[in-house]
């Protein structure tokens, strides 16, 4: 029962918010909430006949727009519909002004006169598409697809595809970073494991110090090092490797993001590797060598297989952390080094397309949970260690 308070706390502060995100990624009530009368009538309209809806629907729409204008919610409908069909936002904005003067019917010609798009069947089809309470639209948008008015799901044209590429880039960069941390982390973990405890404890401090230092400090440090007038560029110019006018661009691109993130995530690779290597008795390799194996062979056949759990743990940990990274790519990634998380943040705080942000987040969460289950299978969460 002692677990109870924390359980409730985590539920409220963490799981319900995640659930809220799941809900928002499919939620679709905005149009039916703001246009209650017209959507209700529109549900019975047969869109396959290619005829405009009846006068009653038009009248209901005018009433809805009038009310939405008073409550200042009508622009939100336009904004939402605009994600699916460009131009809807201005349609609602300009119609909202003109409906003020529409006192009596017939509303059909009046509305079409206010904006000719009301006379197009497609406009009504788009609105009708938004009657269901839940939608897969955000998820389709998150994988560069959309649902046509006739119900077919199609992929967007090449020039409009961004998210699939971004997911691939996120995965590719995360893989590169994981591989680099392994290449750099393996030798130093090995060195710490074969040295006597006293010296290895000293070296461990060099790994733990960056681990404990603020992420922003480390990112700032890389900006100071890599920028155009930064320490490394100055050094390269000083030794004459590059001219002062053609300093290499090392930051605000993919390269900068990879270097800084490799540095930041390296301790997460070294620590699990080291804790596994520590448990492998040194006498194994010595025994193999004394039996005539070449030192390389002894290492490869005897020592290396023992380190595989550590490699698995470190690699998955680094990969999970890398795939959801936001701060470092945002500050040093420029345009070519951004991750999917930067896009999520963009949709939350700039473009305000929260549904799409939520759908992208849910997909990312799905990938991470799958990896986490894999991690659990390989290492077991009970064995998770800190420092």
């Amino acid at each position: 029962m002692l677990v109870g308070p924390l359980f409730l706390f985590i539920l409220f502060t963490f799981f319900i918010p995640i659930g809220d995100m799941l809900f928002r990624s499919v939620e679709n009530s905005i149009v039916t909430d703001i246009l209650p009368r017209s959507t209700k009538l529109l549900a019975d309209w047969d869109s396959t006949t290619n005829e405009l809806p009846s006068e009653a629907v038009f009248a209901a729409m005018v009433a809805d727009i009038k009310e939405g204008r008073k409550a200042r919610t009508i622009t939100r409908v336009g904004q939402r519909l605009n994600y699916e069909a460009p131009g809807m936002s201005s349609l609602f904005r300009s119609s909202a002004r003109k409906t003020k003067r529409m006192k009596e019917g017939p509303y059909k010609p009046a509305l079409i006169k206010a904006h000719k798009r009301w006379g197009k069947v497609e406009t009504w089809k788009v609105i009708k598409q938004f009657i269901p309470k839940y939608t897969a639209g955000y998820f389709l948008a998150a994988v560069d697809a959309k649902q046509e008015l006739n119900g077919d799901i199609v992929r967007l044209g090449d020039e409009k595809r961004i998210y699939i590429d971004l997911f691939w880039r996120t995965l590719r960069l995360s893989l590169i970073i994981t591989a680099l941390t392994l290449i750099l982390g393996f030798p130093i973990a090995y060195l710490m494991a074969i040295l006597p405890t006293k010296s290895s404890n000293l070296l461990l401090i060099f790994v733990l110090l960056p681990f404990w230092t603020s992420l922003l400090v480390r990112t700032t440090a890389w900006i100071a090092l890599l920028q155009q007038q930064g320490v490394i560029n100055e050094l390269l110019v000083f030794v004459g490797l590059v001219g002062t006018d053609n300093r290499p661009q090392m930051i605000h691109n993919e390269f900068g993001a990879i270097v800084a993130m490799t540095h930041i995530l390296l301790p997460f690779m070294v620590l699990p590797l080291f804790s596994v290597m520590k448990t492998i008795p040194k006498s194994y390799v010595r025994a193999a060598v004394s039996l005539g194996a070449h030192p390389w062979m002894a290492f490869w056949k005897v020592y290396f297989p023992g380190t595989i759990p550590g490699i698995g743990a470190g690699a998955i940990l680094v990969f999970i952390l890398a795939i959801g990274y936001y701060i470092t790519p945002e500050l040093v990634g420029g345009t070519t080094g951004t991750f999917i998380s930067n896009r999520i943040a963009h949709h939350i705080s700039s473009s305000l397309n929260w549904g799409l942000a939520a759908a992208l987040g849910v997909i990312l969460l799905g990938i991470v949970v799958a990896l986490y289950l894999l991690y659990d299978k390989i290492v077991g969460i009970d064995n998770m260690k800190l420092g």
Binding site: L209, W212, T220, L365, I381
Partner: protein, 284 residues
Amino acid sequence: MGKLPPYLSLPERLWHYGFRLLCGLIFFFLIFPLVVVIPLSFNAVPFFTFTKEMLALDPAGYSLKWYEDFFTNLNWQGAVQNSVIIAFFATLLSTTLGTLAALGLSRPTMPAKTLVMSILISPMIVPLIISAAGMFFFYSRVGLQGTHIGVILAHAALGTPFVVITVTATLVGFDNSLIRAAASLGASPTTTFFKVIVPLILPGVISGALFAFITSFDEVVVVLFVGSFKQRTIPWQMFSGIREQISPTILAVATILVIVSIALLVTVELLRRRGERLRGIQET
């Protein structure tokens, strides 16, 4: 490192030194960025780079003005205040709840232990951007977005897994007969808790609390979304500083933070040793 045995062949010797050189370079890669910010923070000019005067060790090239800026600028001082307040309450909350939960989890009668454990530590696994997005959506629904309480709750949620893990680890070697012994000698459950259990798990609780504190103190993604300018913390201020007006004050702050993290690292290490001594685990 000791001396090399005399029977090694030349390639083996080369490998020995070559490997150490390689490792030295990797350690250099790890530490150098942290070290480089320290001299740069004493720069007399507002750039992130070494000037000729600095390289010539000319005192005119150095200045304390960025530290002065940090200690007098209201934006930064507000950030320090917020960071401390938020981290303190978040730590208090997560340490209390986390320690209780760890005690519960370590009971042999606890059902579905693995499942509960994975639920409790999930805030550590889920990428921060996703937690931040979810919290932003939900907290703005219930009116916690842009409040200190919202940020504190969010940080406490992120910090609890660390407390649960460290306290559970100290409880692994816990001898349950100690509780029975205390009870048989007439101690009430409350007395047993404070006189027997607490002293033994204290190192775990404190290092868990430190982890929770540093999590909150260092966290920026959630603050960016759940908080607003009023809740700006040191990392928040650094983040917006890097994006907008880049000034060496950020490097001065970075230097101070590096020193703080060295102090924390030493504390955690001392606590770990004390904990091992108390539980009679020999260092190997």
